[in-house]
Symmetry: C2
Subunit: 214 residues, 2 copies
């Protein structure tokens, strides 16, 4: 299968981790989100993803799936071998999903490229206003997550098995570090980030280890 | 069970639709998001939801679940009777989830109350800048969704059965209409919105039909 993405896109990073955890082979098709107005807006890519965002997964038989979370839950269902991204009990599953949506809905979409571009271009925000914006939403989100983790974390976000929540947390923390966020305020998040990044699947998925890294 | 929410919150609206479709009885606990700095920030509520957002579902046995999507997927799993919010095939499920995340991740979080408050207070954006901001993200999102629906819609977002996608679409369209968005540019979305709003579960969930409506 083919994964269309961008090295520094959090959403692509999540799918890379998921594919690696499942040990699924894929070819990586870089879509440069900035150069020449952004490859995600080209007609050819727009056919694969009308939302003009990355990532997109295209299976060998031609099935096209957009949205990182839809892709990852699909992979988990179709390839149940090796690891499961969600616990079995409905309540435990809900707890993991809560952490996932804290990031997927309430942090990442607010501090991503297209929003910063709008702040910069349309609202003419200064560099420091843009930086404060990102930091504000990341800090607000991580504060709530740190509190949730007090009742769920073990070695990872939910006990001692890697789950969907870790697949979401690691790219978000990577992004937070780009904004020089001090992780000392989030000891559990910091610990889980370090633990995940000892695993081969997470290391291979890092932005700097992608062929399109700059 | 108890649902903590706010009449005009999209995320609460979704959960109300889901509870109604499953014909589950619940008591509704209003959390006023604006008055006196916002009830979601009070210590008592923060214990239920560290993210200080609505909704929160509290089950009779005391289980607490945050994040609308985690709540709704939980309800669907625990109460499989009457209707199922997701189709059976993994690929169909992924298609429905893509539509859900288009809204839950890429539209709603950008145009919600706390973001508009930040634009207003911290960035000192004018009323028209705030309105344009919301319209921009809603229009960008709905444009992609309208295109996706061309290959999935029947009477509802995904064929002729109500799914999770409709539970997300209706509150988003309701919100778009508050920003005077012209739905004529989105004929499938408009049609599905009208079809859903003929169903008792959707009518009873409307913001204006809640006890805390103003």
């Amino acid at each position: 299968m083919r994964l269309y993405g961008y090295w520094r896109s959090s959403a692509t990073y999540r799918v890379r981790i998921a594919l690696n955890l499942k040990q699924l082979h894929y070819s990586y098709v870089p879509v440069h989100l900035v150069k020449e107005g952004g490859g995600q807006h080209l007609a050819e890519y727009q056919k694969l993803n009308p939302a003009e965002l990355v990532p997109t997964l295209v299976e060998e038989d031609g099935n096209v799936i957009n949205q990182s979370l839809a892709i990852i839950e699909y992979l988990d269902e179709v390839y149940p071998e090796l690891v499961s991204f969600l616990p079995v009990s409905p309540l435990a599953k809900a707890k993991v999903r809560t952490l996932v949506h804290d990031i997927a809905c309430d942090i990442q979409p607010l501090a991503n490229l297209r929003v910063l571009q709008y702040l910069n271009t349309t609202l003419q925000c200064s560099d420091s206003q843009q930086k404060n914006w990102s930091k504000h939403w990341i800090e607000t989100g991580l504060k709530g997550i740190e509190q949730r983790l007090q009742s769920s974390a073990g070695r990872y976000c939910f006990g001692n098995e890697v789950s969907l929540a870790d697949i979401y947390l690691v790219p978000q923390v990577y992004n937070a570090l780009r904004f020089s966020l001090d992780l000392d305020n989030y000891p559990l998040i910091q610990l889980i980030y370090l633990n995940c990044n000892q695993l081969a699947a997470f290391i291979a998925a890092k932005p700097e280890n992608q062929p399109d890294a700059e």
